[in-house]
Amino acid sequence: MTDLTAQISNFSQTLELCSKEILVQLAQQSSWDSRYRTIMLLGKKLPNLNQEMKSDSALVQGCESNVWLHFQWHNNHLQLAASSDAKIVKGLIAIVLAAYNNKTREEILSFDIEGYFQQLQLSKNLSPSRTNGLFSIVKTIQAAAR
């Protein structure tokens, strides 16, 4: 096991995020600013990436901020490690990882990501559209599962 493999594995296993809980948590927020506060708090739950993991080769294209994404398969489950230097984007990454981390190919491909984001009631500029980096992250993960 290389260092990086171990680091991704470690990141993935320490993530304690559940998409259903996130939905409940965000639904309780009544104002736009409390929703954002909740998103940023979710971002804080992501373990820190070390310098090695913040390599240029891990950068996701098409993001306004720096987004790093690593993934690998472990016992038929996708291990994910990702982060961003932007707080809101980091929170959104946590939301995406909650849906996909440590899931099987079948679970990843059958997950309704658009419905998930609709339920989160985020504004258009936060949902995974072609114009923000979230779209690239989701596409990369889905492609990995195919």
Partner: protein, 398 residues
């Protein structure tokens, strides 16, 4: 009636605080009506038919060319060429002028703060021609380093291509001085006036430049139309870059005789409805209500800068004294993506990023900035709503 009420965009979008006029301005009713009028009443091609409607369109079309010439103080309407926009005009010049005048070893000089549109075409031309592409160093306030400029002029550049105003910072560059020094070396000169045209009077005769370019859509006119001014003395150095109808005197199987500029560079049907719209935009800019509002805009810009300076976390870029009404800033310790998302959530329309001026961002040592750009319709409420939204964003991110 306030000037804002002349812009239907605002009544259709009462919640939006539009502070992105450097990207494109909103359009007043008069411009929208002129375009509609053209299609509903006068739609015919210019310089083609010989029936009444076509003749009327041709007459008006040429009268607008004359109006544009007056607007920028060009000696003759024959110096005005229609293009698709500023970018199109510069690319046109890189072909129609550059291909025939830039030789191996020649020098091309641009400012380090240029928009990519006045940077990449010349960089690529230099590469293709084995010529030298040089950029003038930029001082911390975004203005050109004049000592470095004079040093570069010693290479006797073939072309000096400079921005009138910075799109990323709003700086009004010292173009008179830069042009006068360039002229002394015999260089051909180009001024990118895209950001200047709606804000400051432009006088190409006084500037003494060989080329001046701008877009209609940044001066309250329609998209898809640009203007290229070509001084008489460089016309002989220009060759056609596209071929087709209307540019030719006579065609036979053996050869083709071309018509002079402007026809030489205007083959195919032009964007006539937009040209009619531009005419209305010039009337709007020359109206007394606009000129009065322009003075208010200067005060509003000062207010915006003062309010931004009161926020400790804000770092301002550019020269805010000689400026067309652009505040370029960054929130310290925060990602521009975060600030931008939170402003957008509060219906604040501004631009965030490198503003198509990556070499300038590199010189300023930032990845990008937030750019607030004022238009003639902005008022104190807009600035107040923006400042309050920015404060909320900063508070939320802390």
């Amino acid at each position: 009636m306030s000037i804002k009420q002349q812009f239907p965009f605002f009544s259709n979008n009462p919640d939006i605080v539009y502070l992105d006029s450097a990207a494109t301005t909103q359009k007043p009713n008069s411009v929208i009506e002129a375009i509609t009028q053209f299609y509903t009443h006068s739609n015919a091609n210019a310089h083609r038919g010989n029936y009444t409607t076509a003749n009327e369109v041709t007459t008006k079309y040429e009268a607008i060319r004359n109006k544009v010439a007056h607007f920028i103080h060009a000696p003759s309407p024959q110096d005005i060429i229609w293009t698709k926009g500023t970018t199109d005009a510069i690319n046109l010049l890189a072909k129609a002028w550059g291909d025939h005048n830039i030789n191996p070893g020649d020098y091309i000089v641009v400012l380090g703060s240029e928009h990519h549109a006045n940077f990449v075409p010349w960089q690529q031309l230099a590469k293709a021609k084995q010529a030298n592409f040089k950029t003038v160093n930029i001082l911390p306030d975004g203005s050109p380093d004049l000592e470095h400029y004079e040093l570069l002029l010693r290479s006797n550049p073939k072309l000096v291509a400079i921005q009138h105003c910075s799109n990323a910072l709003g700086n009004i560059q010292p173009v008179h001085h830069l042009l006068s020094l360039a002229r002394d070396t015999g260089a051909t000169t180009l001024v990118d006036g895209a950001q200047a045209i709606a804000h400051i009077p432009v006088n190409v005769s006084d500037l003494g430049c060989d080329f001046y370019v701008f877009s209609a859509h940044k001066m309250y006119g329609p998209m898809g139309l640009g203007v290229l001014y070509i001084s008489n003395k460089v016309k002989q150095n220009i060759q056609p870059y596209q071929f087709g109808g209307e540019m030719i005197e006579r065609v036979s199987i053996e050869e083709t005789l071309f018509r002079p500029i402007p026809a030489l560079l205007e083959t195919g049907t032009q964007n006539i409805s937009a040209i009619f719209g531009l005419s209305a935009a010039i009337d709007f800019i020359e109206s007394s209500i606009f000129q009065y509002a322009l003075k208010n805009k200067t005060q509003l810009f000062q207010y915006l800068i003062d309010e931004l300076k009161k926020i400790n976390e804000v770092q301002l870029f550019g020269n805010t004294e000689k400026n067309i009404g652009v505040a370029s800033f960054k929130v310290l310790e925060e990602s521009t993506a975060d600030v931008s998302a939170l402003l957008s959530e509060q219906n604040i329309a501004i631009r965030t990023g490198h503003h198509c001026a990556m070499p300038l961002m590199q010189a300023l040592k930032v990845d990008g900035t937030h750019r607030v750009s004022l238009g003639i319709y902005n008022d104190k409420t807009d600035v107040d709503r923006f400042i309050s939204a920015l404060k909320s964003a900063i508070e939320l991110l802390n």
